[in-house]
Symmetry: C2
């Protein structure tokens, strides 16, 4: 069975009546399970996450986008979080039985639908990006909604789908496919922020570390510790244990121990399987062995 | 939501028509999911495993027992596996949201039902045992079906439920509650079986090791290795990482490394959670964080 996840961010986090109406489009959609939704009034933004079979997910997400576009007026929007559209981002995340390419194809097809039906500019980013310039969402969203009208006059910002036209009520919609992200923070028994930053640099991709790791050093004043705060953006290719052990070794070079680590937010069961096989040297361990696995099957009913 | 598992062993592993009829009682039972069933012609025995909400599980298991008792005639049974009844064992296993006591109560109630409705002797063993003498299944089943008629004349073998009467067609039914078992084998880079046995002894309960570990040393001739083969009978109280590290340390005393380990059969997701928090020092990791967790909810539908 295949399971796809979708985590749209909409530009409404204050009017809960609107948020509820948008959430309702996926709440009772057949073949879809609503996982979570949360609103931030300061950001004036809501994040909705749900999971299901690919076809059911696409159908439900079309309803969500149509409803949000109808109810949200970007020309009146303010909020502290960067945004460029009423539906700001639509990330598709392959969770089970799906390759990256399949999820990318779904995201691209979905963007095409937005262009044709919603008739607003669409940008593809991350794994769905069509050029390297579009991979980074901050780059795509540079200047935000307020700059969009001008950006659309620049060939560099030609939309991937939809008209090259500024639609004040809706702005542009950013669509991507990405792998489930693992947020791993490792606390060190030290107050040396420079050291934490050096360790973050040694493991993160941009400075020569692991390909799928982003990271920074942070000071935890209250705890009297420093933290290497990381996102593992492709846990299958750069697994948690490899990163954990690398940070441990780097810290040991300074005579510093790991106090604890934190996994923030959702952790795919596949990442747990890697931790099992790595530390237990259980090279043949399979997720099919998980006692509860038969209960995880996705049902179309 | 609560999930209970049941793994009855029936004394028929050759006539697949009978096996299929018995399996059918749980296959389509509402609120129950058939996980697996397998038959062994040499043992002349089949193992059926299914999971579901406690009420649904009890109802389905009553049907399974009634059907098996009707179709299997112990007076004609032969097979290499020890057995004492047409339905030889009925183990209930708490998997989710259930305490041991609740599962024991269900097993005891189920044994009472067998006594009253099936009218054969019932023995409770493992966590459902009413006396220490009955905890061990091999002790309860000593001499097997062939000895049962004589055993029933001995007050030591007075059944826990049902009549103290030998019913040749059915024998006795053994009912238990037990925690999900984790089978962990650790292979060592050595051919010294004595050493493997000493390590097994140092970690197993009977010789002073961990309370919930049973284990032996084995020679793996083909691999040129020895193995510490263990059952962890209560992974929550004696977790996998603690046993893994103890075996590693003991082997290191002999200058021997772990080559690999094997987890055989089902592994509860709770045991995976322990491995995560132990090796990643992620003390606050919760199974609620598992991305797929919302899909594991057990539905009564």
């Amino acid at each position: 069975m295949k399971a796809l996840m979708c985590v749209p961010n909409i530009s409404e986090g204050r009017d809960m009546d609107v948020v509820e109406k948008v959430v309702a489009t996926v709440k009772n959609a057949p073949g879809v399970m609503l996982l979570d939704y949360s609103s931030d009034a300061d950001h004036n933004r809501s994040v909705i996450s749900y999971i299901g079979s690919p076809d059911a997910m696409v159908a439900a997400t079309k309803n969500l986008v149509s409803t949000a576009v109808e109810l949200i007026d970007m020309s009146k929007h303010s909020g502290s979080h960067p945004r460029q559209g009423a539906v700001d981002v639509v990330p598709f995340i392959p969770v089970k039985g799906m390759e990256e390419a399949e999820s990318v194809a779904i995201a691209r097809e979905f963007g095409k639908w937005i262009g044709e039906e919603i008739k607003v500019p669409v940008y593809f980013y991350e794994d769905a990006a069509k050029t390297p310039d579009r991979v980074s969402l901050p780059k795509v969203r540079k200047g935000q909604y307020e700059a969009l009208e001008e950006k659309l006059k620049d060939p560099f910002y030609l939309p991937d789908e939809g008209p090259c036209t500024f639609v004040p009520k809706t702005g542009s919609i950013q669509v991507c496919s990405r792998f489930p992200l693992v947020a791993l923070n490792i606390n060190l028994a030290s107050t040396d922020l420079d050291m934490a930053t050096r360790i973050a640099k040694s493991v993160r991709h941009i400075n020569g570390g692991f390909r799928y790791v982003r990271g920074i050093g942070l000071a935890l004043e209250e705890e009297g510790q420093v933290q290497v705060s990381m996102n593992l953006v492709h846990y299958e290719k750069t697994p948690i244990p490899m990163v954990m052990e690398a940070v441990k070794r780097e810290a040991a070079r300074y005579g510093v121990n790991v106090v604890k680590s934190e996994l923030i937010g959702p952790v795919p069961i596949g990442a747990m399987g890697q931790v099992m096989s790595y530390y237990l040297q259980a090279h043949d361990f399979s997720l099919d062995q998980v006692l509860e696995a038969p209960l995880i099957g996705w049902s179309e009913e």
